[in-house]
Each structure stands twice: as structure tokens, then as C-alpha cells.
Amino acid sequence: MNGSAPILETRKLNRFFGSVRVTGDVDFALHPGERRAVIGPNGAGKTTFVNLLSGRLAPSSGQVLLGGETVTALGEAQRIKRGMGRTFQITSLFPNLSVRKNVFLAVAEHEGVAWNLFRSAASHRDQFGRVDELLERVGLADVAEVKAQDLPYGRQRLLEIAVALALRPKVLLLDEPAAGIPTSESHIILTILDTLPKDIAVLLIDHDMDLVFRFAQRITVLVQGSIMVEGTPAEIAANERVRKIYLGESDHAAA
């Protein structure tokens, strides 16, 4: 579809938990600047797929390529260093540190100042400039000094995104960023996603179909660990099998 080479790619990716196959022969490609959604019913293996991409989990077989290079053997930290960023479905922050410090840690790692031993963190003005800019962007500037654990859950979700954005990723993996945010407010997420640089590739997982269809250029449907179908939102919406398995479900829920 897209002339450029994929920034992120998987080849015959498999993952077993015991004898259960949670990811099955996934061939997947994400191009620079692409806005992609991955949807699928609960337990379809979406989170597992993100974990395989980010290097949190090792695949049972298959390859992951980042920017054309095989990164299958690299751990999560190393892949992140090569330009990935991710969020977690279950909020994963530094609960006892302030919102500002949460984001600073990510900025410091990204900008390579985290090994500074003798200069006080507070004197890293450039980095704090970026931190404040990010907090502004996700709308957390007013709670910068609050401990992460004292934020309401919805705002923790925003902090989760800010931490990932701090890494200036070329590929951003968002695992249900809107989970825990009332549907009426999920547009905040969309607004934030709209402000992202156009050249970065974004992979979004969510159950909020409204959000997904407004965000995505292409949608991948994952069922029982394998890609069932991939296409434009219109194609997916029109697909009979998807309607049956997935959208039908949410229609029922809505009814």
C-alpha cells in the first residue's frame, strides 16, 4: 500500500504459553507515519503481540524487524533505545514519584543524561523544559508535583502516554490507552494522538470502536492470536466475519 519500507515488521511470529498458542504465524508490517489499530476480542492476544514487538516477551519462533534490522534477540530496553515507545494496558508508572519525575526519568533515558552521577537532576533545565512541554500537551501541567499514585485513574492513563511520548519514538505502541477513561472523554486521547509528529508510526489497541475508527488508517483484526483480516476502516466495517465475531459483539453491548 505504502511505497516506503516498513519501520516495524514481524515474520511468522509465534508465541506459546505452555501448549497454548497465543500468537500464531503473525506477518505484520507498519510503515512510517502510519496510523494503525489492532482490534480483537478479549484474550485475542493483542497485549501479547505488543509485548513481542517491544521485546518484553521473547517469541517462540519468528522474527521482529525494526527499521529493517532484526531485533528479535534484543531485550525491551535495547529496542526502546532504537526508537520504540510503548504504554501498558495496566497502568505502569512510578507510583511514589511526582508526575514531573515520572516523565523526567523517560526524558533522561532518552537524552542520555541518566548516567549523570554528579550533576543534580534539578539543574537539567533543558530536560525539564521538555517534561513541562509534554505535561502541557497531555494536560497534566496542573498536577506536575502530585505523586503519580495520587492521580485519578484517568489522568494516570494520560501520564502513561506522556512517559511514552517522552522517548520521541519512531514507533509508538499504545495498549488500550483509553481503558479506564470514560468513553465520553476518550476524545482527549484522540486529540493527543493528533498532535503527534506525522512521520511516526502509531499502533493503537482499543476496544472503543468509536476511537479506533476515527483514529486508524488501517485496522488489523486479531482473533485467537492470528490475523484474521486487515484493511481500511471501511473494509473492516463491511467485513461479514468481523461483524459477526467482533463488531456484532459490541453492537449487542451497545443495544
Binding site: A77, F88, F94, L105, A121, R125
Partner: protein, 333 residues
């Protein structure tokens, strides 16, 4: 965040610390200077405290700031102590050189054991930390021709400090020397924990999985903290050897590893001043309770630990902080 002269930065607590706390910490250090003049009889005891504070401070870097729980920290203290002691008997008895060597040896042991142990966590790490210390203890016990075995290293004496100040029987030189080392170590640790590196250690303590997902090389970061802590523990050990002119086999023991952990927790871990509060409290309590029957002291320590974990997490300093916050809130209401 303000530009201040280096001297001011070195001497004063970092920003965000209230004026009263600055004044308090300054007067604490100044009061310490006056101990040999005011209560000369207690100088050796005070020296002992200073050495243990340094040791507990080194542990705080691991337990309090990085979240590494070790049961074998004495291995590094003992390494420093034996290195200084053995060097003094065989090669040179210059206090500064032997102290540096003690630090270096402990850092090396920390690097070797740490690079293995830090690949694991949880139970495996605890057991490895026990096993490593246990092995060193056994080795020191066996190599009695070098270490004096069970009797320890007796009669280790050191040449005057900087060629001028003799280690006299009143212990004044020893005390000021230890205090100076502690102060230097304290400034260093404070710098480090307030640096981006130190913050990343807290990040690892809070959520190592998330640190990985922001690209932090956890293992290397932990190892750096471990080696740094080892060097400081080694310095404490070397000071112990130099100021008491004796190295006991128990400087490598599980008991000492446990004691220093209790001292730190009693004061409050992850707070820089926890060691300064915990060590004196511990030693006073020990003095009070152990006189009659060692059993009383075991009971005391056990109760301290139980009460601390069940009711007073954060140690004495944590308690003070909570009380002050509650009072403050009450006042505003």
C-alpha cells in the same frame, strides 16, 4: 535550580529542603565535631557510631534507593577491613593508602559478586547474597595464616595520618578521621541520589519493568549502584580496622549484615539521614539491653523489626515526617 556557588552546593542540603532542616543538619554535623571536647570519654563509642553510619549509608544506596535487599552486605565491609588490616601488617601502614585499597578491594568484590548476583532477583538474589558472604566468611576463617582465622587480625597499627596526626589512645584522631570520611561519603551519596542517575535508581526501585520500557539498562544501573555501595562499605570496614586496630572475623558475618540492615530500617531507609538516626538508636539500645543478657537484646531487636514492619514503615524518620504532616494539617484546619 538557582545558581549557587559550588561551596554552597556542597555544604547545604539540596533545594526543596526546608530551612529548619538545613539548619538541623548543619548543627548535627557541627555538634559531632564537638564530641571529643564535650564528652571525651565517649569518643571511641562515637567513632564506632560514625563507622557504622557510613556502613549503613552505603546499604541505604542499595536497600533504600535502588530496592536491592541484600543479606550479605558485611562481605564488603569485611573485605575493606581485612584488606586494610593485612596491608598494614605486610606492606604499608599508611592510613590513606590502606583505606583506598580497602575501598578498591571491596569495589572489586562488589563488581565480581554483583555482576553475578544481579542477574537474579527475589529469592535467588537473597540466597546468593547469603552464599557469597558465607563463602567469604569461611575463606577468611580457613586462611588463618593471613587473616588470623577465628582470632581475627590482632595488633594492626597505622602510621600517623598525613604523617602528622597519630592515632592516639584517646581516639581523637580516629574520630575526626572517620567523621571526615563520613562527611565526604555523605556529600557524595547526596550528590548521587539527587542526580538523574540517582533518580533512575528510585525508578528501578519503584517499577523496574517500566524502567526497562523507557530504555533503561537496568542491570548496568543496578551494578553501578552495587559497586558504589560496595566501595563505601569497604571504606567503612577499613576505617573500622584503622580506628580499632583490630579486624574480627565477625566483620564478615551474617549477624553484622543483619545488624546494619536493622540500623538502617530503624532510622528509615531511602532518606539519607536514616543511617544517622538509626545507628545511634540501635547502639544505645544495644548498650542498654545487652548488658544483662544477650537474650534481652535479641528480643529488643526482634521487637524493633516487628513493630517497624507492622506499624511504623519508614522508620523513625518516616514517623517524624508523618507526625509533622498530621500536625501541619491539624493546624491548618
Amino acid at each position: 535550580m538557582t545558581d549557587r556557588s559550588t561551596a554552597a552546593i556542597l555544604l547545604l542540603p539540596p533545594d526543596g529542603v526546608s530551612g529548619t532542616r538545613k539548619a538541623l543538619s548543619m548543627s548535627l554535623w557541627l555538634a559531632a565535631l564537638a564530641i571529643p571536647t564535650l564528652v571525651p570519654g565517649y569518643t571511641p563509642l562515637a567513632n564506632q557510631m560514625v563507622v557504622m553510619i557510613l556502613f549503613a549509608l552505603s546499604l541505604d544506596l542499595l536497600v533504600g534507593f535502588t530496592g536491592i535487599v541484600t543479606l550479605g552486605h558485611a562481605a564488603l565491609f569485611g573485605t575493606g577491613a581485612y584488606t586494610a588490616g593485612i596491608l598494614a601488617l605486610r606492606l604499608t601502614n599508611d592510613p590513606l593508602i590502606t583505606a583506598l585499597c580497602g575501598m578498591a578491594a571491596a569495589a572489586l568484590v562488589g563488581l565480581v559478586t554483583g555482576s553475578c548476583m544481579l542477574r537474579t532477583k527475589g529469592l535467588a538474589f537473597l540466597v546468593l547474597s547469603l552464599a557469597a558472604a558465607f563463602m567469604l566468611h569461611e575463606l577468611a576463617n580457613m586462611a588463618s595464616s593471613v587473616t588470623g582465622g577465628d582470632d581475627g587480625l590482632q595488633g594492626v597499627s597505622f602510621s600517623p595520618l598525613l604523617g602528622v596526626f597519630e592515632f592516639d589512645f584517646r581516639g581523637h584522631t580516629a574520630f575526626y578521621y572517620s567523621l571526615a570520611c563520613l562527611f565526604a561519603a555523605f556529600l557524595l551519596v547526596r550528590r548521587v541520589v539527587n542526580s538523574p542517575f540517582g533518580w533512575s535508581l528510585r525508578g528501578i526501585r519503584e517499577n523496574d519493568g517500566r524502567m526497562r520500557a523507557i530504555g533503561c539498562p537496568i542491570y548496568a544501573r543496578r551494578l553501578a549502584a552495587y559497586v558504589m555501595s560496595s566501595a563505601l562499605a569497604g571504606l567503612a570496614g577499613a576505617l573500622q580496622a584503622q580506628t580499632t586496630q583490630f579486624v574480627a572475623l565477625n566483620s564478615l558475618s551474617l549477624e553484622l549484615s543483619g545488624d546494619v540492615l536493622i540500623m538502617l530500617i530503624l532510622g528509615g531507609s531511602g532518606r539519607l539521614y536514616g543511617a544517622f538516626v538509626g545507628v545511634p538508636l540501635f547502639m544505645f539500645a544495644q548498650d542498654l539491653l545487652a548488658k544483662e543478657d544477650p537474650a534481652n537484646w535479641y528480643l529488643g531487636q526482634g521487637l524493633i523489626l516487628m513493630v517497624m514492619t507492622l506499624f511504623v514503615p519508614g522508620g523513625v524518620l518516616g514517623l517524624v515526617e508523618r507526625l509533622r504532616r498530621n500536625l501541619g494539617r491539624g493546624g491548618r484546619r
